[in-house]
Symmetry: C2
Subunit: 439 residues, 2 copies
């Protein structure tokens, strides 16, 4: 007998012979009414109503429980009140896995009434809630669209090691790994490796992989392990080409999410930005952005802002939304003191680097990198870095390295902001913070 999905449970054609079908899934709700048991079955496609004339029991005579996994056979029958207008008149039902009745988490409950810690503690169950599961359907579309767009521009996907001998950004905020007889660390980013691959002659590369930050703060915008959508590209003049590339990526992601995740967006009452509007997102120098943020803060009688901090990110995004029709703004020309040693200078104080702010949150950082060996050797002491600790970097630049640059988009942050989630942890399947390493 053919297995159909809840979504495929459609009205039988008129005059067609009646034909039984099979559905499988989880028991989402049970209702008894007039001796009949109504079971709402949940599968990967949605919900379906099953009508059982007899009370379903398993081989040892135990009754159905919420979240049990069942297989049911029967005839599709029209019923206006059922999801999709069709229900299954069950002739045979089998309990494949009976759920214990002491469910510690109410899967079919209202997640707005559930605390985040409870949702994360009972992740095995909370992910069964269609609204929570929807987050990760959207995330899968984001990842697919990111890769597809870059492949269309001749970028090659790479996979680089996350166990590294040292940090690219200096030695701070690294998780240590006990690696046989010596110390190693978890990579904060594939920075050095993606630059190596550009200089290897691939010229254009991307990577989708975990990145690690041993930061102690516990905020709605931080994860200690996150999925980094990394891009690096050779033969660029300045960071402006990177910003154009990122606009193209975001535009394609918004287009694909709107197209493929309509149901998931509805569950969150989320609207993705117009893909065309992305190209109108402003690009503004750091100093000008800081002035604008302060002007906006003054209007709201808020305190003075000294940096593009979270408050400034919110004000600048809101301004772009009002003025340009999209809550997305690229701030470039960051001061040198805010950027890592490998950032390409624009002048004595400013760099060819940028952040992307989307709906009040920095979702991406990038820039052009130093590619000249002598300029690199000159820069290191200014950052208190010993060239001997940068052996890998030195050999990368010493033997012919094209002008290049890149950026990384935080996958969970982008997911969070597309759906309007309050906390970035909601956009991580099994988030890691200072206290949480399980489940």
């Amino acid at each position: 007998m053919e297995r159909v999905l809840a979504l495929d449970l459609i009205a039988p054609a008129k005059d067609a012979p009646e034909k039984e079908v099979k559905v499988t899934g989880w028991v989402h709700r049970i209702r008894e009414f007039g001796g009949v048991t109504f079971v709402i079955l949940r599968d990967r496609s949605g919900l379906a109503q099953l009508v059982c004339a007899e009370k379903p029991v398993d081989s040892s005579g135990q009754g159905l429980t919420l979240e049990s996994v069942i297989q049911a056979e029967g005839l599709p029958v029209l019923n206006e009140k059922a999801p999709g207008g069709v229900e299954l008149a069950v002739s045979r039902i089998e309990i494949l896995s009976r759920a214990a009745p002491d469910l510690p988490y109410q899967v079919n409950g209202d997640i707005a009434k559930t605390g985040l810690d409870t949702i994360l503690d009972y992740r095995c169950l909370s992910l069964r809630n269609p609204k929570i599961r929807a987050i990760f359907k959207v995330q899968a579309v984001i990842i697919e669209a990111f890769a597809a767009y870059l492949r269309s521009l001749d970028f090659t996907e790479i996979k680089t090691s996350k166990i590294v001998g040292g940090g690219t950004e200096g030695g701070t905020e690294l998780f240590e790994v006990v690696y046989f007889d010596h110390k190693a660390y978890l990579a904060q980013s594939p920075q050095f490796y993606k630059e190596t691959m550009v200089a290897s002659g691939l010229e254009r590369v991307f990577e989708i992989a975990p990145a690690y930050r041993a930061e102690k703060h516990d905020t709605p915008r931080h994860l200690n392990e996150y999925v980094s959508l990394d891009v690096e590209m050779g033969f660029i003049e300045s960071e402006k080409e990177l910003i154009e590339l990122e606009k193209g990526i975001l535009s394609h992601i918004f287009e694909e999410v709107a197209r493929k995740s309509r149901k998931e967006l509805e569950l969150w009452s989320a609207v993705v930005p117009d893909p065309d509007a992305v190209h109108s997102a402003p690009v503004m120098g750091y100093e000008e952005a800081l002035k604008l943020a302060n002007a906006e803060a003054a209007k709201a009688s808020s305190a003075r802002i000294f940096d593009i901090n979270p408050e400034a990110e919110r004000l600048l995004s809101a301004w772009a939304g009002r003025e340009k029709g999209i809550e997305l703004i690229f701030v470039n020309e960051f001061p040198r003191r805010h950027r890592p040693f490998y950032t390409y200078p624009l002048d004595a104080h400013r760099t060819m680097s940028f952040d992307a702010l989307f709906r009040g949150l920095e979702i991406s950082t990038g820039g052009k990198r130093l590619h000249d060996y002598n300029a690199f050797l000159e820069a290191l002491p200014k950052f208190g870095i010993n060239p001997e600790d940068m052996e890998g970097y030195c050999s990368l630049l010493k033997y012919g390295c094209p002008p290049h640059g890149g950026f990384a988009i935080g996958c969970e942050r982008l997911t969070q902001k597309i759906l309007g989630l309050a906390n970035v942890k909601e956009a991580s399947l099994f988030p890691r913070d200072r206290k949480r390493t399980t489940p």
Copy 2:
């Protein structure tokens, strides 16, 4: 002026106006002949010949070196001896990044004459060799094809944490991470997480991510960090559906690699198997496979084989190649003692699990998993496991879990065997072994 790739440097059309183009890339070779400098330029698409009437120098008067990055403008001119039949008559050349002349590794040399340690020590340079870089172009196609095939069957891509509280397979062979105030580990596989996502209602999931094995052995078949192509699927009867799925995946990968990586395959004189032949690959029970391996060993007067060890993997693959036209064989019904506690039993001694052997190497392991909570609780003590240490697993199975199973393909091993590489480390960009954490 338009930048063209080496590959696009084609003959000017007859009677068309002459038009200068720009190329950028690395200096692969330099030859001086009769006062003219011939430069072979290498870019991401291939090689191009540049003809310079004057000796190229940089702004400080220094001459061209191998591996320098240059930009050249000129007219495309027919020349039978140039790659692609066209060379560039250079009117202007600029050195974007001059390579130091003390190259520690000869990029344009014959890699067959270079030891693996040298290739890995100078990874920044060895990856510039077109034959070595080709490995990772093929790997990118493998990853893309794996994901595309599974998406076409309604599988959802997931990204799960690699920092975990403990190991799924027991506590051995785990790398420890110093995680704030408590111990954590690097995941050996996303086993528990992918099962959770099946039971979450996604039903069909895949993940492309690093996996870690703290194994001390240093062999041509082992990596301590590798890219695992993971699949998990709900509502299956037995491991046979998983084998069919894996055949479909491999068939699609072979088809895509043959189609997209023709040049890369040529560099390695590699031939991918016929995508159709994959479906003829035999499926054989463990005991029968062991008998066959011994019969094959006896023919070669080799010693008796007591297990499906590397020697048996070679003999069985070779047999399948001879008898079925493809060096691929699935061995199922592995004895219980060889498989983890969560493996679904076929009978008292055998399990619903399998290995895939391809060209003499195990590239994949999988099977149906226990999904019944009571059967799981009964199995644990037989493996000396305390149910309290398996809290996550228990809650996964306690509250309704469909029959399910999955497998993982080692991405580097598959790459290795498609190209015929001697050592799996060649198929990892920055391989990690007991001694190596850099570059």
